[in-house]
Symmetry: C2
Subunit: 409 residues, 2 copies
């Protein structure tokens, strides 16, 4: 019997009425003849409520305890969802991450999945139950509770789909698919019918909030077809799948923006080889991900190194300040949290040249200063002042034909 | 090194400011040279909030899922408490019930503790950490999450104290000790300096909300001295310990009342032996506790059986209605949730006669009708109409000398 994995985000389980609607969707697939696994996030606002409590006590509190705290949100949702399914007459059972031995590394607050014990799940599916599993959470070899980071429930769903050999992983959310840019910024932006894993990966890692990066990596690795669709409307969403020829005809598929990064600058460094490496090794050891890096050599042989990290990591970097300054023999460290990263993405870039140049000149035409640049085979990213985010995204959508023509004036 | 177990109830961890105060109390005992284990309940109101969500979906939802849900409240508290202790400079680590293998039976929503793996706790204590453990929760042999019922965190604390051989179990709460009656009803009621386990047990099981019944049973069995004291004031509380001679000089130590019960009547039963037994066996099989039972034989050989159960169990009994009526060949089933149970308790009853008679005549003098009666060696309980609760408690406190003389007019 084929298995469908369904994932419902926080807005889809925001209250008990919506949870009943989730239960109906699960039962519909079940009655259509599938075995159904449901993964849910915490109720909308719950994770923020919990982390606000933690921040009241200590914004740099032990990541282990933050995970102990945050993982409760999903546990609430699975219990309520299982009750709702049973209330509607089907049979259901809920499991936490530890209960299905969703094993992760010990990178608390952003742990990576290593293995899943699917035996527990298969046993319940074979008994005719709809199995409801907490997204976002797992446990280490020492049975410490971990979380997979924001959006981690997507990863849980795709990992489950992969290990169970599911036919499809349906990600239900509050939008009806993946758009070429944030529709709140570009109201007439186009919806994308189908995307390559590679493109979705670049979109997710560069600010599109639709799917978690790790989720797309898993899907690509295990070739799990993902469908992103609306919890609230019955219409087809966006399929994310293996690249097909037609996808390359589109030069740029999407313009993404991210405002969750901050720029850190280590200033006036005596420019000697190996120094930067030591600093980045220290950050890597503390599980702090560095994204873009730029090094400028100034007067008197003194250099500046700027890099971007997640804003949420700033308190941890501030704790390491002295160590960092010492490691690279820098004179000062500067923080700029008011930046935005704007990216143009498309598998079409592989066969079309000059995309970066078109992007730079479009921004220049709007007098937007580019602070940092990075490129990959299918992506160009620019860091700019956060104030110009909307302007930049709109201009680039126009430039690359990602907006529908105005229907009415 | 001696071990102190501290338990903090919901009002003691109601917000992050109070959690910081809890952390201070833990650190104070630690600095006084003890190893410290802290058990916390869910933040005040949290368990109700969660169960209200469950009730919105299904008031008779699967007990397994209710436990999955309700156990999250304590997990939130332990994470925040551990963070607070670390913020104040001491070292702490939190554990859920499953993580210390707090093993219980599978009586979901009121499971009983079977064993605890103290190795995990001792290891962390020996490393100098304050260990924070979730009250109220455990797991079955199949790793299903269970809860111990309302007030179960007390039981967790005492069970931990017993298994760790703790010097004392301090139960911090929002009152400064155990009173001879509810001070909200009898404002000038006396505080009890020391109580026998036996008395506390009868008080807990007959409505005094200070301590969970199972907690006192554990304490009595393993001879763990308990102190009930205030989270908010620094003064000695009430010691609960082995009976000493002086305790018997007090005839009645306390008047308790309970309004959490309901009366169920199986009416017009063909009065044959063994029928009632079958009905009560069915309830026992469903883990529904029956408290008082009264059987009246009326005209034509038809009998009525009335019994009391927790009001929360009424939806489950309603589900069994047909089966119950059939089992005892009764014509109808009646529910009366508007009852109160008033009890007089004292180890002194063992050596003083006529307490029941004094209780009945005191109630009669106030025109309060007695619906059901039960007695034990150290307790007399009467079920009355709930409307007369306060009147009955006040009259009995006067009768048995449990009020302080009026200090001012």
């Amino acid at each position: 019997m084929s298995i469908i994995v369904q994932k419902f985000g926080g807005t889809s389980v925001a209250d008990t009425k919506r949870i009943m609607a989730v239960a109906k969707k699960a039962i519909r697939e079940y009655k259509a003849g599938h075995q159904v696994v449901v993964t849910v996030s915490a109720m909308a606002g719950e994770t923020d409520r919990l982390l606000n409590l933690a921040n009241e006590i200590d914004p740099a509190g032990a990541p282990r305890e933050r995970d102990m705290l945050a993982s409760t949100g999903e546990q609430v949702s699975i219990a309520l969802t299982a009750m709702a399914i049973e209330k509607l007459g089907a049979s259901a059972i809920s499991f936490t991450g530890p209960q299905i031995d969703m094993r992760t590394d010990d990178g608390f607050t952003k742990a990576k999945i290593r293995s899943i014990n699917d035996a527990v799940i298969r046993k319940e599916l074979d008994e005719g139950k709809i199995v409801v599993i907490a997204g976002f959470q797992g446990q280490t070899d020492e049975q410490e509770i971990t979380t997979l980071g924001r959006g981690g429930s997507d990863t849980t769903a795709v990992a489950l789909a992969a290990v169970l050999g599911a036919e499809r992983c349906d990600i239900y959310t509050d939008v009806d698919g993946v758009y070429s840019a944030d529709p709140r910024i570009v109201p007439n932006v186009k919806k994308i019918p189908a995307l390559a894993y590679e493109e979705m990966l670049e979109m997710a890692s560069s600010g599109a909030k639709v799917l978690h990066t790790r989720a797309v990596q898993f899907a690509a690795k295990y070739q799990v077809p993902i469908q992103v669709l609306s919890s609230f409307e019955d219409k087809p969403g966006t399929m994310i799948m293996q690249e097909v020829q037609e996808m390359e005809d589109v030069v740029v598929s999407a313009i993404t923006h991210s405002m969750k990064d901050a720029k850190v600058t280590l200033s006036k460094i005596a420019d000697k080889p190996g120094m930067a490496a030591a600093a980045f090794q220290l950050l890597a050891d503390r599980n702090i991900n560095v994204d873009l890096i730029v090094q400028n050599v100034g007067k008197e042989g003194l250099a500046d190194i700027s890099f971007t990290v997640e804003r949420a990591d700033l308190p941890y970097i501030q704790k390491l300040e002295k160590e960092l300054l010492q490691l690279v023999a820098a004179q000062e460290i500067l923080y700029d949290p008011k930046i935005a990263k704007i990216s143009a993405i498309g598998v079409g870039m592989k066969t079309h040249a000059g995309i970066a140049a078109r992007m730079f000149s479009t921004l220049a035409a709007k007098d937007i200063n580019i602070l940092m640049i990075s490129t990959s085979e299918i992506k160009v990213s620019c860091v700019i002042d956060q104030d110009y985010t909307e302007l930049a995204v709109r201009a680039l959508c126009e430039e690359f034909g990602l907006v529908d023509e105005q229907v009415s004036a």
